[in-house]
Symmetry: C2
Subunit: 205 residues, 2 copies
């Protein structure tokens, strides 16, 4: 970390606060800080107040654990959504991404991470038992496991699959398709993606 020393405590303090955010290094933190100095008072006050408000106004949905302003999130309390399909994701941001696609009309379940023995994160640290309860207590037709296509995401998906099978209820279990991303160039696609794209090739006939 490069040294920050403007000899002004109030500047150093904001630079340090910005540096604690993900993806912001010493230089960016400094640039952001000096930008804030030049901003209008209302604008910097708005940032500060929005940063405080995020803690005061938010909770997690008691059903799917997505971030919400009420005890039940707007998706879980929407009667027009299909409550028999649950899409299981790692993080709240993944819900946003899938919602943006506008193609999924079921409900979600947010795990808050993946199983990772190295980081001492086991199934008990995730919202997996809560998912089991949801499947037991509700009429669920399909579980779409949408963890990331990474080693840990796959391991977590496979753990959840086994757990759902054990419940011995007639629930479909699916996983998001793997293959070439839109707009990609086969020359630059990694081997693992190509293997999946070949294995899951679809007939054109």
């Amino acid at each position: 970390m490069s040294q920050i020393n403007s000899s002004l405590p109030s500047i150093d303090r904001l630079v340090e606060a910005f540096q604690r955010l993900p993806g912001i290094g010493p230089k960016s933190a400094q640039r952001l800080t000096y930008h804030l100095i030049k901003m209008k008072r209302e604008e910097s006050a708005e940032l500060a107040s929005a940063a405080l408000g995020i803690k005061d106004n938010l909770t997690t949905c008691e059903i799917c654990f997505n971030i919400s302003e009420k005890s039940q999130c707007s998706i879980c309390s929407d009667n027009e959504r299909n409550s028999q399909i649950i899409c299981v994701v790692e993080e709240p941001l993944n819900v946003l991404a899938i919602e943006r696609s506008k193609i999924f009309k079921g409900l979600y379940h947010v795990l808050y991470g993946v199983i990772s023995p190295v980081d001492a994160i086991g199934p008990d640290n995730l919202k997996i038992s809560e998912l089991t309860q949801r499947i037991k207590n509700n009429e669920i037709k399909e579980i779409i496991i949408a963890t990331n296509p990474t080693l840990r995401g796959e391991a977590t998906a496979s753990y959840i699959r086994d757990m759902v099978l054990e419940l011995d209820k007639s629930v479909e279990i699916s996983r998001l398709a793997r293959g070439l991303p839109s707009g990609s160039d086969i020359e630059y696609v990694d081997d693992s993606t190509l293997v999946h794209a070949l294995n899951s090739r679809s007939s054109l006939k």
Copy 2:
């Protein structure tokens, strides 16, 4: 700008506040916001309070216009610095950069921008007349013009040079050297830099 819509006003509000900062696009703003949700309350409160403090505690130095907590900045009020040399820079961040090099022991003068007719910024919008006054009223031996090596930076440097010459005082005027940046690869250096590196080549004899 990609659409942001988490359907949660407190999230959208912080995402928008982050997006107003330089170099932060919709995706980064979203990632920062969700990081803040996961942060401890003290940490997000610290960011908010530091962002507010930056406005409450700062002013500009009455001599050099650098950002300061007192009416005179720590550099201008340091008796060990050479008050006969003034380094003219575009922005307060440039002062930090030059201070980091630890090689300059004179004072600064912050212009707050460069002359840019397209953006309707003329000499009167910058701290140029204040610089003239400083040179008139003090015993100054050298003015180092350290505006950026860009078209506008050069134009501003040349304007300041003419202005200092008009004062008809025996003041040295210099400009930061241009050439190859340390660690660069000549193959990838732009033509303009190479022209300067060749023209200002130094003898090895």
